[in-house]
């Protein structure tokens, strides 16, 4: 009998459930979006990690992957999309541009880092990061959610 009953608190179960069923938001900005598509494509197949359903509406999704350069014209729109997402919500900043402006940091119309627009949970380095790196970021985020280290 004891093999079939799992005793846990509701809080723990919720964290576990949130972490293992992240629904990402179909939101591609630039070059990194292509690597994001590769990660969801056949070879890397990140559905293995429980976040297979890319949702097209911010209302349905919990994970925003900012994949690419954030321009000044786009930044307020990103904020609006983030505000439209329902709690709990998480942000992965993918690549050098989204994290810190990347090669375009000297430009006149580029925001140096998406963390000036929305709060970021995990940063991924690389220009662009390989799909493996994005999957590592997803695993990191999941581990932190399950361990309760993410405040939302």
């Amino acid at each position: 009998m004891s093999d079939n009953i799992l005793v846990t608190s509701l809080d723990e179960a919720l964290k576990w459930g949130t972490g293992k069923s992240l629904w990402p938001f179909t939101f591609g900005l630039a070059c990194c979006a292509i690597e994001m598509m590769s990660a969801m494509g056949s070879d890397y197949d990140w559905a293995r990690f429980g976040s297979d359903i890319f949702r097209d509406s911010p209302r349905h999704s919990d994970l925003m992957i900012v994949s690419g350069t954030v321009t000044k014209k786009m930044a307020p729109r990103i904020r609006r999309l983030y505000d439209q997402m329902a709690f709990p919500k998480f942000v992965i900043s993918m690549g050098a541009c989204a994290s810190a402006g990347g090669p375009y940091v000297r430009g006149y119309s580029v925001v140096d880092g998406v963390d000036q627009v929305v709060p970021v949970d995990v940063y991924v380095y690389g220009c662009p990061p390989r799909p493996e790196a994005l999957i590592q970021a997803l695993k990191m985020l999941q581990d932190r959610i399950v361990a309760g280290k993410v405040k939302h």
Partner: protein, 151 residues
């Protein structure tokens, strides 16, 4: 026949002609009738003391190419009535280089937010003076120099 001010060529042998800015519309119209039916792009160059507009023409049947240039200080005639594609190219040239096009139907900024100060591809554009963009209630962009008012 519209006279050509001077003629030269690029390093790979493309013909470059300079035309006075008063005649540019008429000159391009003649070239279009001659067979240069594709306008590849319009671009602006800031030479500090004057501005230049470049028109890259291509004849889709013979494959010959022609670059037409004109010197100006502020504005030239629009060629949107000859090529519909000129619309966006002229808006971009206005946006980034700051050359006005007379008789353009909708000369607004295209790449930068409406209300942006200055034209970035000018050589004297202040790159250290940052501008910030935010959304207004009607969904249009608001540009300001204050960091607190935008991203």
């Amino acid at each position: 026949m519209i006279p050509v001010e001077s003629e030269s060529s690029t390093k790979n042998g493309m013909k470059v002609v300079y035309v006075a800015k008063e005649n540019i519309f008429q000159y391009l119209k003649e070239r279009k009738e001659e067979g240069f039916d594709t306008l590849l792009m319009i671009s602006g160059v800031d030479y500090r003391d004057h501005l230049e507009v470049m028109y890259h023409l291509l004849s889709s049947s013979s494959g010959s190419r022609l670059i037409v240039k004109t010197k100006t200080n502020d504005e030239v005639d629009s060629v949107t009535s000859l090529w519909k594609g000129a619309d966006w190219h002229e808006r971009e040239t206005w946006d980034l280089v700051g050359i006005k096009f007379k008789n353009h139907p909708n000369l607004k900024r295209i790449l930068l937010a409406e209300g942006w100060n200055g034209h970035p591809l000018r050589k004297d554009y202040p790159m250290d003076k940052k501008q910030y963009v935010n959304l207004g209630d009607d969904g249009e962009d608001i540009v300001s120099y204050e960091k607190t008012e935008g991203y």
